[in-house]
């Protein structure tokens, strides 16, 4: 799954900026993600990882810079054009964000039913297929999301994210709130699903075990900028003080946590 460097990147961020009031969250983020590549962005809590994803999805408006998908600027799209772009993107939310008024299979089939003229039984079949892909039996499909454990909810959310065979999939803290074993199961599923789709994946996490498992390439976000970017295998020998402090989880180092300010 290595990146074809000679092509236009699938996703490119150029000098992406976003502030909330006086607080600058993203201060010129530059990031390129090649087609079929899996990039994991690591960084401490509150460093703007989620904000970055939400800007790419158009859920937040960036203050400056540009977002290019397949070489075309998408940062100013709205309405229908934005919907068309989001149709090519799947997203796994941190808290799963399943619709609790719908059953499991209706959640997975949600975009299918809304998007094109897919009939209800057809959508149900595709949804059950996707559920099987994440290791869930067909009878889970009739349950409501509230009846599932956290790990099962994550699986359903993963099935929903890949239901429409998107070209790009985002993973927001995929293992947060799961025990290490379930976390590893989810990580494996992510790797398998992304490989099967041939999709480009961007994940954000602060769980290093997850990052090592999922990533082709790792980028570290700190103070609103990418401070290191390289192949996943080089993370131990990055020579970057920020990265070293983060991956070894040390309180002392160049990263000052917000609590001290």
């Amino acid at each position: 799954m290595s990146a074809p460097t000679d092509k236009t990147p699938k996703i490119e961020l150029r000098g992406l900026k976003k502030s909330f009031g006086a607080k600058t969250v993203l201060d010129g983020v530059d990031l390129k993600v090649g087609t079929g590549e899996s990039v994991v962005v690591i960084g401490g809590s509150g460093t703007g990882k989620s904000v970055m994803l939400k800007c790419i999805l158009g859920l937040l408006w960036p203050d400056g810079g540009s977002i290019l998908i397949d070489g075309a600027d998408v940062s100013a799209l709205s309405g229908r054009a934005r919907e068309a772009r989001n149709a090519r993107i799947g997203m796994l939310f941190q808290g799963s964000a399943l619709f609790d008024s719908l059953t499991v299979w209706e959640n997975v089939a949600f975009a299918l039913q809304r998007r094109s003229g897919v009939s209800k039984p057809e959508a149900r079949n595709i949804a059950l297929g996707k559920l099987a892909q994440v290791g869930l039996e067909a009878d889970v499909g009739a349950l409501s999301p509230a009846e599932l454990s956290g790990g099962m909810q994550k699986r359903v959310a993963l099935a929903r994210a890949i239901a429409t065979d998107p070209e790009i999939v985002f993973f927001d803290e995929p293992t947060t709130g799961l025990d290490p074993i379930m976390g590893d199961i989810i990580n494996r599923l992510i790797v398998d699903c992304v490989r099967e789709l041939g999709a480009t994946a961007v994940s954000i996490t602060h769980d290093m075990a997850s990052a090592r498992r999922i990533a082709d390439r790792i980028a570290m976000l700190h103070d609103g900028r990418i401070v290191w970017d390289g192949p996943a295998g080089d993370i131990e020998s990055s020579g970057n003080a920020f990265v070293d402090q983060f991956i070894h989880g040390r309180a002392e180092g160049p990263i000052e946590m917000a609590v001290r300010r």
Binding site: L57, L59, N86, M91, G95, F99, F110, A111, R114, R160
Partner: protein
Amino acid sequence: MNFLAPIGRVFIGFLVATGRLVAFAALSVSHCLRPPFYGRSIGRQMIQIGYFSLPVVGLTAIFTGMVLALQSYTGFARLNAESAIATVVVLTMTRELGPVLAGLMVAGRVGAAIAAEIGTMRVTEQIDALATLSTDPYKYLIVPRLVAGVITLPILVLIADIIGVFGGYVVSVHSLEFNAANYLKLTWQFLEPLDVVTGLVKAAVFGFLVTLMGCYHGFHSRGGAQGVGAAATNAVVSSSVLILAANYMITAAFFGT
């Protein structure tokens, strides 16, 4: 001049909030007019907002109609004007108390529920998830509730009018010993279509206000359980106040000189 700053800040905050609400309302209404429409969601909301409010609105109406008859009897008996009771009951119910009380009850029952549901969807990222699943949250969440509110409240109020008049009838006939046929005749005698129509117009406006405030506060809720709770409270308080203010304005527009 520092003492002026807080006043200015409050005033600017008020203007910002008003502007945001108006922009939200305009965007929501514009989405009501443009496809795609989610017919099944509208149907589900009509059941939620209209049908399930019937018991509470009906109970409110019957007791209000009964107390109206009793109160106007004790008052009018001093002037030997007992024959006006039927007219007082029917006019008060259709013009004022039907729509206002139904509006307030629905604000408490439905406004809070809408704000809590949409607010929870906001803080658990379900609204963001909608946007990533090719679904406009305005169209999927807000339009069905607004449309259902505007359609079902007039129906609720019409039913409340009838139940309220019936409450007055029961008290007058069984407890105050009026002649039943005479009471019904008096009820019809001075009732004009405009009395009922203004009540229904009010109801439609109140339905819009209740669902709009519920959606607005839910949609903009922040910060977990506390934020959702605050959204529910704000939805009920603001829609109740707006109902009473709008009630005066609509009355003035129809009957003011």
